[in-house]
C-alpha cells in the first residue's frame, strides 16, 4: 500500500513514518505539513492510504477529505477523541488513531486497512462492477455494492463508459458496459432492442414502428431487433 502522511507536527509525522517502516507492505511515498500541499500531490498521484491529522491550521483534516472526489482509505491521527462520531460519517475513514500512537494500536489499524483494501480490490475488478444474485443485482457505485431488484429495472442505457440503470424512482449510473449487464439479466424478461438500450419487456406501455414507450422513456428499436421484440409480445 502506498501511503502519505499529513500532519503539521514534524514529530507526529516522524512517528507515523517510523511505524510504517515496520511493515513491508506499507510504503510512505510522501509527507506533508499541510493539506494544500497534499491536495496538489494527490492531483498528480494516486495513493492507497492516507494518515491524516485532524487539527491543522487553515485546513482541518475533515476539510481536506471534503475536497477529495474519490478519497482513498484514510486513517485519522489525532490527540482529540471528540471527533470519532464525525469520523463515522465518512466511508473512506478506516480507523481513528489517538495520539500518542502505540505500536500495538497501529498494528490493528494496519490490519483493518489491509482487510478493507483487499475487499475493495476484489470489488473493483472490472468483471465485478455488476453481480447478479437471484432476483437481485449488485452494482459497484463509489466503492459500495448497491442492491437493485432485477424485475424493477425497466431500462438500461449505454452512455460512453457508463450504463444507466433505471428503476421506477431512481437512475443508477455505473461504470460498466451494456454487454456485461446483459449477461446478468434474465433473457425471458429483458431484451436488447438497440445497440445502446436494453428494456424490460414486461414494462412496455406501447410500441410504435421504431420505438417503444416504457415508463416515461421513448426507446429506439433497431430494425434488426424488432422481430425478436414482436415475438416476445402476447399479440392478439
Amino acid at each position: 500500500m502506498n501511503c502519505i502522511i499529513i500532519d503539521d507536527e514534524a514529530t507526529a509525522r516522524a512517528i507515523v513514518q517510523e511505524l510504517c517502516m515496520q511493515y513491508n507492505e506499507i510504503e510512505v511515498v510522501a509527507m506533508f505539513s499541510n493539506a494544500i500541499e497534499a491536495i496538489k500531490f494527490l492531483n498528480q498521484n494516486e495513493v492507497d492510504l492516507i494518515f491524516l491529522d485532524i487539527h491543522m491550521p487553515d485546513y482541518t483534516g475533515f476539510d481536506f477529505i471534503e475536497t477529495l472526489k474519490n478519497p482513498p482509505h484514510i486513517i485519522l491521527t489525532t490527540s482529540d477523541p471528540n471527533f470519532a462520531i464525525q469520523a463515522f460519517e465518512y466511508d473512506c475513514i478506516v480507523d481513528y488513531l489517538i495520539k500518542p500512537i502505540t505500536p500495538e494500536r497501529f498494528q490493528k489499524s494496519v490490519q483493518k486497512a489491509r482487510l478493507i483494501a483487499s475487499k475493495t480490490s476484489k470489488l473493483s475488478t472490472s468483471d465485478k462492477d455488476v453481480m447478479a444474485s437471484g432476483n437481485d443485482l449488485y452494482v459497484n457505485i463509489g466503492k459500495r455494492l448497491i442492491k437493485i431488484n432485477i424485475p424493477s429495472i425497466y431500462l438500461v442505457e449505454a452512455k460512453g463508459d457508463y450504463i444507466k440503470v433505471k428503476i421506477e424512482d431512481k437512475t443508477f449510473t455505473i461504470h460498466s458496459t451494456l454487454k456485461k449487464i446483459e449477461d446478468k439479466l434474465p433473457q425471458d424478461l429483458f431484451l436488447k432492442v438497440h445497440r445502446s438500450f436494453i428494456i424490460n419487456v414486461k414494462k412496455i406501455i406501447d410500441i410504435a414502428d421504431n420505438s417503444v414507450l416504457i415508463q416515461n422513456d421513448v426507446v429506439p428499436v433497431s430494425r434488426s431487433n424488432r422481430p425478436e421484440l414482436m415475438k416476445r409480445l402476447n399479440l392478439l
Binding site: E9, T11, A14, I15, E18, L19, H55, S79
Partner: protein
C-alpha cells in the same frame, strides 16, 4: 510529585535503536521552542482559543516525553482555554519549564 520526562514511549519504537531516539528528540527540540513561544504570545493577547490549539499541539510532545499526569493537566487546560478560563495556566507553565529544562540536557 513533579514528573520527570523520559524516553519510555520512544523506546517502544526504537527497539534499542538510539539513532531513532536521537532523531526524534532532535525534532522535538527544534519544534518545541516555537510552539511554546506561539502559545505564550496567544495567551498574553488573550487569544485563548488559539492558545488552546497551541496546547493541543504541545500535548503530543508531553505524551512523547512520557509525562502522563502533565498530559491530563494539559488536556484540562486546553478545554478550559476553549471556554475562556485560565485557572490551570500556571500548572501548564511549570510543565513547559520542565520540558525546556529537560531538552537542554540533550
Amino acid at each position: 510529585m513533579k514528573e520527570i520526562p523520559n524516553l519510555n514511549y520512544l523506546s517502544q519504537f526504537s527497539r534499542g535503536d538510539k539513532s531513532f531516539e536521537e532523531r526524534m528528540m532532535g525534532i522535538v527540540k527544534s519544534e518545541f521552542p516555537t510552539e511554546k513561544e506561539v502559545y505564550y504570545s496567544n495567551f498574553q493577547q488573550k487569544n485563548y482559543k488559539l492558545a488552546a490549539e497551541n496546547v493541543h499541539k504541545i500535548k503530543h510532545k508531553i505524551s512523547i516525553l512520557g509525562l502522563e499526569k502533565s498530559y491530563e493537566i494539559a488536556t484540562n487546560h486546553e478545554n478550559s482555554l476553549r471556554e475562556g478560563h485560565i485557572a490551570l495556566a500556571s500548572d501548564f507553565d511549570e510543565i513547559l519549564q520542565t520540558i525546556s529544562d529537560y531538552l537542554e540536557t540533550f
